[in-house]
Amino acid sequence: MSVELDVFVGNTTIMDKEVYQLWLNGYTVNDAVKVRIEGGVMEECEASAEVLLSDTMDQFRTFQMCERLLQNPAKLANQLLFQIPPDRQAMLIERYYAFDDDVVREVLGKKLSKGTKKDLDDVSAKTGITLKSCRRQFDNFKRVFKVVEELKGPLVENIKQHFLLPDQLARDYAAIVFFANNRFETGKKKLQYLTFQDFAFCAGQLINNWTVGAVDNMVEDMDVDLDKEFLQDLKDLKILITDKDLLDQHKSLVCVALRGKTKVFNEMEANFKNLSRGLVNIAAKLTNTKDVRDFFIDLVEKFIEPCKSDKWTATDVNLYLTHYTNSAHILDTFKHQNVWTRYMGVIKSCILRMYHE
């Protein structure tokens, strides 16, 4: 004796936010029922476990039917099958595309391929998030990537338009897409301390300053790729370290500016050439795709780690980078002011973000 068929269909599709979240989290119906029982909904509404099971199954089915539409959110507003109030639509989409920082951290910068998807069970084991949920998140990354990859115009706007996401979420996705496209290495041990939000911030900096769209702001430009011309120009910065006079001049300018303002002055003075070489070398090598991938690890190895070992504070770093950048403008023989500003602006904010004390 059993209920063989049990459906409830409302003219306005009924969706419980709490159940939706359980579904998104990849719970099975039975697990979801358990969670709901623990949540006390039964006492509130005088319901039995049976009722709860029926309701949960029904809603899970509704979500499953909606999933196809959620994968193409623009359709959700135009489809006729489910009558869903606009505020609910927005909620459904936003939650469907929400992700766990822990999960995205694991796949950030990796190729969004089948191979990566296969490794998701490791991600699931490591993060404690169900494989189902990991897969949904991964598929979302991939879907967004596929759609905006070839699109012209500002990346964040494109994502907002096609996936109807709120601003912050769209920015996060832009970061994910950007990382996946440029395949930035983020998995190395030395980078483990960085959170997704750190990387998302850096991605935002890179997108806003180093892509073609950043300068022209024209619709034809792509936001996902770095500005090739700019990367080429970065080679010219090498003069800052190859020209001995320039290097010394630069150092003395910075030292004058910082003297007495920081506790780590001596370490800074001793390390100046190394640090400067590190940063300029990173710039000069960015024409190689391989080195682009190592961008963050280079930043850590060539700059952050040395500073850390000398016990610089974030204020010290900020002070140093500010004067390091500005002093270069005073150098008479240094002609590449624009490139320098564009480069150092991003480097400075990235390092500051990545510099955890």
């Binding site: 209920v3 409830f8 269909v9 009924i14 709120p166």
Partner: protein
């Protein structure tokens, strides 16, 4: 050449990928009407094709316009093989044929495939030009308005209520034709859908003809059903109430009164056609013509005259295609007699023999079992009849006489209405019902459905005689239904015997109107017994009315109608259900029919006992909206009675329930009994509190009445049947006892008590009823949620006893209700209105229960005393204050503030995306059109959505709103089948998506007509069959309702609506083209 149908295919969107290689589709469209087909060009390689076709024009008879649907097929072009069908859209163009309904159909329709479900959408424009047709003997009845609503539609006034119209057409079921063995399931399903659509159209047209014949211009309470008789065929039948309606010249604003439809005939050929159409028949309203009056004065009593055989029809050579002319049986044939066609008289001779002959022809006619439950209920009394008549004074008597004669002229004085214009319903007798068990055999000649006609005829006669026995001359709230299992069919009809005023039935109605105002009954008059107190048809206990103390009332009143608005009710009402399941031996043919016939009386008796017990347990004394469904399966019979219980102030307060044991010597047993008694008493007390039943204690004052012991009037009430006398004897024996006694030695009684006490009370904040309105709740908010829920329960192989089966069925219904309450908990405080249960036994061990209802929130802080006076104010306040998350009030009110008419906005939205959609296809790189993306970027309120919000409700109104226009009837039939049941999420997944699809298609059709709501929505059929072993399932759904445009009452006061109808629609659609 009476009509030109024009259709234009604009665009498609979200089409499925038909070409795996390119992931695209080369779509084109076939537009078919009758035997004419047009095709659009192929729009290559796109999932969002822009055909933007020319206008396809069909020149057709208006008869075909009524019968045929416009059939739109979307196909994928294939150079090398046959073109693949993507799906179809059937558009019923009937709404375009009435001058007061829609003028254009324009919008996105889901493309539907019976195997794959909805596959994308198509944008279509349809218009009709009707020409003048002066032929009085035409077969079409364009212009007659149809309403599913079982009351006078909100923006109309009833000038005259003519009475009952019925018709049925039969055909072979394509599913059972030989060709079905060789064709695909898709072809078979489509043939069925198309056939039913055709038959519905034909049926509606024929009913329309009858209405015109009677001088009416509308059918109200139109109920169309189909019977899938399997091998023996397919029957589509309909009943309704013919009326002459007058559109209210919208009182709220003169602007809308300037209805472009009516005022400027020259603008529209169609209107012109209507104005002059059939001069002998008043269409829109107006006084009846002399011809009709004449018709009424001379009554031709023989029914057989009203039918003409098909052969004679052909002789007439009006339209060879139609099977037969159907004159209403209730209207005499005088008209045809006096008609200028001489052949009519000849026809008479060729008419088929009278009814009884055809009956004898049908060998399988079974003994018919029928009841007058009315009687039963009546078992608890009524009365007035002679005495009341005397007291009523001469005027009333005279009026009644008038009505009587007016009604007697009708063959069947039946009304499918459940609520009435004030002053129409005078007295209510009680429920009358009749059932009969028939054996089906093949319908040999679809053109002569006499057998089925005769069956219904028989039942209606019985109903009529039951009503007479109750001293009533009319039956209101009348409905008919069937239940079929294999070759056995149970036909049921039920209604409420009543006495009506002549006000709406005579030509002089308008004169008497004012006189009637004086007589206008207070809230108790309808309870006064219509039959003779001294000559009661059954034993009953009468008391003087607790309101007026002048007339007699019964102690309990059962009706099938809605609670009259003027009724005095104490406290709130609640849904009361009696559920019963009885095993039956498997049998074949006659044996089976006999077995069922024998079981039926007991089933009905039990159901009534249960209803009565539950009513008493809730301390109530009347049932409204009573609907008893008996469903037959191979090895069981299911009975489900639903009604809304209320405490009518006019009726005496019900007594308690007393339990008696037969073996009082046993102490533990006594204890058991007293425990039970205590439980029952507690429940009664609790219910009184819950439903706020605090009647004024009038007992002392009634002491003087001739009826003794008013408090003990309750007796176990037993069905009284004309055919089974032993039952009524039982009744008498119980009648001697003072209180309502349940003897628990009786296994039935144990069961009764069990079911009494297992009915869980509704959770706090919830109320439920199966009528239109809930007494005691007046301040509805705009939060509204219509839903359908279906459950199928499989009984395992164990041999269940009646009791076991009963419990299973009872639990199934209870659990379903509990689930509903849980689902809708966010709407609290709320009331489930119009809760409509349907049960079926689709297979041996399956029980299917389907519920459709609407949940409506109300304002908690209602002031009950002045509730009725301040309804409107409360409603408006509620609209602005209450914003349920599930609903759209925010959006709606935002929409409305910018635009006085939701509908107008909806229309522009519908056609809006057309041009922008074109942009998108030109620029393939960006799948989103410019305009849309901009709006999305700027604000995420989804302003770009092209989907009109369409509300659906089984009620005839939407709280807080005013219906300003009826756009036509929605009557849709769909079949869905799957051969990959598991892949579609099993049976639940399959049915879930199908029901969602049906809703979507209803909404799309309403939106295309320019509407924003469906009222009186009803899912009349949901036939589900599965074969999990073969991974297959099939489901048929039939839904109906009235498409309307509503506006919020708050807006009406703020801004006068503009004349929107025709002009707004055409202009907005013009932009799109």
């Amino acid at each position: 050449m009476p009509g030109k149908l024009k259709a234009k295919i604009v665009a498609g969107r979200h089409l499925p990928v038909m070409d795996r290689a390119s992931d695209l589709t080369d779509a084109f469209v076939e537009v078919k009407f009758g035997n004419t087909t047009f095709k659009t060009d192929v729009y290559p390689k796109s999932l969002n094709p822009q055909w933007n076709s020319e206008w396809f024009k069909f020149e057709v008879d208006d008869e075909d316009l009524q019968d045929e649907p416009l059939q739109i097929t979307v196909l994928d072009h294939d150079t090398y093989s046959a073109n693949d069908a993507i799906g179809k859209v059937y558009i019923d163009i009937d709404p375009l044929l009435s001058s007061e309904a829609a003028t254009v159909i324009s919008g996105w329709f889901p493309i539907y495939d019976t195997i794959h479900g909805i596959r994308g959408e198509i944008n279509v424009l349809v218009k009709v030009e009707l020409f003048n047709d002066l032929n009085r003997f035409r077969q079409s009845s364009c212009g007659v308005k149809f309403f599913c609503t079982t009351s006078i539609p909100r923006c109309y006034r009833a000038v005259m209520v003519h009475g009952f119209v019925e018709e049925l057409v039969v055909n072979e079921d394509p599913e059972y034709q030989w060709i079905d063995r060789i064709r695909t399931p898709r072809a078979s399903n489509e043939a069925r859908q198309r056939l039913i659509s055709l038959m519905s159209g034909e049926l509606q047209r024929k009913i329309g003809l009858k209405v015109l014949e009677m001088g009416g211009n509308a059918v109200v309470g139109y109920l169309q059903c189909f019977d899938l008789e399997g091998e023996s065929g397919l029957v589509v039948r309909a009943i309704g109430t013919a009326c002459t309606l007058d559109k209210l010249s919208n009182t709220y604003t003169p602007a809308t009164a300037i209805n472009p439809c009516n005022s400027s005939p020259s603008k529209d050929i169609k209107e012109a056609g209507f104005g002059e159409e059939a001069p002998g028949v008043p269409l829109s309203s107006g006084p009846p013509t002399p011809l009709r009056a004449q018709t009424f004065s001379s009554f031709s009593p023989s029914k057989s005259y009203s039918r003409q055989s098909s052969s004679s029809d052909t002789e007439l050579s009006l339209t060879p295609k139609t099977a037969r002319i159907c004159l209403s049986p209730s209207s005499p044939t005088l008209q045809s007699k006096s008609s200028p066609i001489p052949t009519t008289k000849a026809l008479r001779s060729t008419t088929p023999p009278p009814l009884h002959v055809s009956q004898s022809d049908t060998a399988m006619l079974r003994k018919s079992v029928s009841f007058s439950e009315d009687l039963l209920l009546a078992a608890s009394g009524m009365g007035s009849g002679g005495s009341a008549g005397k007291e009523a004074g001469p005027l009333k008597a005279l009026l009644r006489q008038q009505t009587q004669t007016a009604l007697e002229q009708r063959e069947f004085p039946f009304f499918t209405l459940t609520s009435f214009p004030p002053g129409f319903l005078l007295h209510v007798g009680g429920v009358v019902s009749a059932r009969s068990v028939k054996l089906l055999d093949r319908i040999h000649n679809p053109d002569e459905p006499e057998t089925r006609d005769a069956w219904w005829e028989e039942i209606r006669q019985e109903i009529k005689s039951h009503a007479k026995a109750l001293g009533c001359h009319a039956v209101v709230g009348y409905s008919e239904s069937t239940s079929i299992c294999e070759e056995v069919c149970i036909l049921s009809a039920s209604g409420t015997a009543a006495i009506l005023s002549s006000r709406f039935m005579q030509d002089s109605a308008l004169d008497t109107e004012h006189r009637f105002e004086d007589l206008m009954s207070p809230g108790c008059a309808f309870c006064h017994i219509p039959y003779d107190e001294l000559n009661m048809p059954f034993p009953a206990q009468l008391t003087y009315c607790h309101c007026c103390r002048r007339y007699k009332v019964p102690d309990v009143l059962f009706t099938t109608i809605d609670l009259p608005t003027e009724a005095n009710v104490t406290g709130k009402g609640c849904l009361i259900q009696a559920r019963l399941c009885r095993t039956k031996k498997k049998a074949q043919g006659e044996g089976n029919a006999t077995a069922i016939s024998n079981l039926l009386p007991f089933l009905e008796y039990e159901l009534h006992t249960q209803l009565m017990n539950k009513l008493k347990l809730r301390s109530m004394n009347a049932l409204f909206g009573l609907r008893i469904q008996i469903s037959v399966g191979e090895n069981m019979l299911l009975g489900l009675a639903s009604a809304t219980g209320v405490y009518l102030t006019a009726l005496p307060s019900p007594g308690g329930i007393q339990i008696a044991g037969k073996t009082p010597s046993d102490i533990t047993y006594e204890q058991h009994i007293s425990n039970m008694q205590k439980k029952i008493n507690d429940t009664i007390a609790k219910n009184k509190e819950l439903y706020e039943i605090n009647p004024p204690d009038l007992v002392e004052e009634v002491i003087g009445s001739p009826i003794p012991e008013p408090r003990q009037r309750s007796r176990l009430f037993r069905s009284h049947s004309e055919s089974s006398d032993e039952v009524s004897e039982l009744d008498l024996s119980h009648g001697k006892k003072d209180a309502f006694v349940l003897e628990i030695d009786d296994t039935d009684a144990v069961e009764d008590i069990h079911s009494l006490l297992t009915d869980a009370p509704t959770p706090p904040g919830f109320y439920s009823c199966n009528t239109e309105i809930m007494p005691g709740i007046y301040n509805w908010t705009s939060a509204l949620q219509m839903f359908t829920s279906v459950r199928v329960f499989r009984l395992s192989n164990v041999n269940l006893t009646n009791q076991g089966l009963n419990k299973v069925f009872n639990d199934l219904c209870e659990n379903l209700l509990k689930s509903l309450y849980f689902k809708l908990r966010s709407m609290v405080p709320c009331c489930l209105c119009h809760v409509n249960f349907t049960v079926a036994v689709p297979e041996d061990e399956l029980i299917q229960v389907a519920v459709t209802a609407v949940a409506m929130s109300f304002d908690k802080d209602q002031t009950q005393e002045n509730g009725r006076q301040s309804i409107d104010k409360n409603l408006m306040k509620a609209i602005t204050e209450n914003e349920d998350q599930l609903q759209f009030p925010l959006e709606l009110s935002a929409e409305s503030s910018s635009n006085p008419l939701n509908s107008a906005k909806g229309l522009s939205e519908v056609s809006g995306p057309l041009p922008s959609a074109r942009v998108s296809s030109l620029e393939k790189a960006s799948p989103l059109p410019e305009g849309r993306s901009r709006s999305l970027r700027s604000n995420r309120s989804y302003a770009g959505s092209s989907v009109t919000v369409v509300k659906m409700t089984p009620l005839s109104f939407i709280p807080g709103t005013k219906i300003i226009k009826y756009l036509g009837i929605i009557n849709m039939f769909f079949i869905r089948e799957t051969t990959s049941l598991r892949e579609e999420g099993g049976v639940s997944g399959f049915l879930h998506s199908f029901i969602a699809e049906v809703f979507a298609m209803v909404r799309a059709h309403v939106a295309a007509l320019g509407g924003n709501a469906v009222v009186s929505y009803n899912m009349k059929e949901c036939v589900f069959m599965e074969n999990p072993n073969k991974n297959q399932a099939q489901c048929l759904i039939n839904v109906s309702g009235d498409a309307v445009i509503f506006v919020r009452e708050s807006e009406l006061e703020a801004t006068p609506p503009q004349p929107h109808s025709a002009s707004a629609q055409t202009s907005s659609s013009g932009e799109g083209t």
